[in-house]
Symmetry: C2
């Protein structure tokens, strides 16, 4: 008989998502989460740097996937297209078949500004990492950051639509649409100075 039940991290993440959903992030204490997971507060902080981090277990995996796809992409792609392709592949692999779970997490995030702050922070780190990956493919740093940032803006639009209740299209398609809209919005129409 093992000394401890396995998968402590998973249990903490599951307990946190449940409790945040039931009573909200602020009204849930770390001690409560740990108790529901059959652990102690101290153990929670052994696994997560702070209370919010428990909701961001996937983001590291997501980032790795995206960076790998950028590095693996066709060399002839424009920087923006390279990022968009990578985001699409990552979305297919990590999001498309877990719509319900992603939606639950999204609902919790949407209800709490502190959690949104953390999400923005993760996105900013990801944007910088994408820019660095483009740079490694020969893109100059400024263009790399602009392409990364533009792709992330389109991604936000696409994700927001993807979470609407009756949306059936794949995130990848929505992203493609959003990028097309962005191209239209940003481009200078001919005939103006």
């Amino acid at each position: 008989m093992p000394r401890w039940k396995p998968d402590a991290v998973d249990r903490l993440q599951a307990a946190a998502l449940e409790l945040f959903g039931e009573q909200g992030f602020e009204r849930t204490t770390v001690a409560e989460i740990a108790q529901r997971a059959g652990l102690t507060q101290r153990t929670f902080f052994n696994h997560f740097a702070d209370k919010r981090e428990v909701l961001f277990g996937l983001s590291s995996e997501l980032q790795q996937e995206i960076l790998r796809e950028i590095a693996a992409g066709d060399d002839t792609l424009l920087p923006l297209d390279a990022v968009v392709r990578a985001l699409g592949v990552a979305a297919d692999r990590l999001f498309e078949d877990r719509r319900a779970a992603v939606a639950r997490r999204h609902a919790v995030l949407a209800a709490n500004p502190e959690l949104q702050e953390r999400e923005l922070s993760k996105n900013a780190v990801l944007t910088e990492a994408i820019a660095a990956a483009l740079n490694a493919r020969g893109c100059d740093p400024e263009t790399a950051f602009l392409a990364a940032g533009a792709a992330m803006v389109a991604q936000q639009v696409a994700f927001q639509k993807w979470t609407l209740p009756d949306e059936k299209r794949a995130l990848r398609e929505l992203l493609s649409d959003a990028v097309n809209s962005l191209r239209t919005t940003v481009s200078q129409p001919a005939g103006r100075s």
Copy 2:
């Protein structure tokens, strides 16, 4: 003789900026800030929702300025141009003649992830507000958000250059350059499918 010295908020902001610069954000306690300002911790929290907020006094003013300029802009401008013009005007009015103060604050922010998180949050709120202002001018919501987001990405690039030690150009010019680069980066070159 008045019961309290005036300008409690200003004194707290000044004391905080000094202390954060001297010993860093994390190693400065709220009690210390309040003490240097001749007040108490409790009073600090009467004026600021949390410890970080003391560094973001200008952001509300900045946002108002930007939104006003968007609303006041020429109706024939493209959405992106309307935002860029407004950001340029706001930069001229609020940043250009306080380079030193802005740089000190920027140095403090750059040294601390928690503060950067808050800054990202402010930028996200600003982006949404800009999108709403564009929407009020007749722009559809998706285009509005894309234009707002694109402008903010360009703004980030421009601001980053503006804070380099030997940069002499105005933020407005750097922003204009960044937007041009963004247009190039995002646009589909002719002759590709």
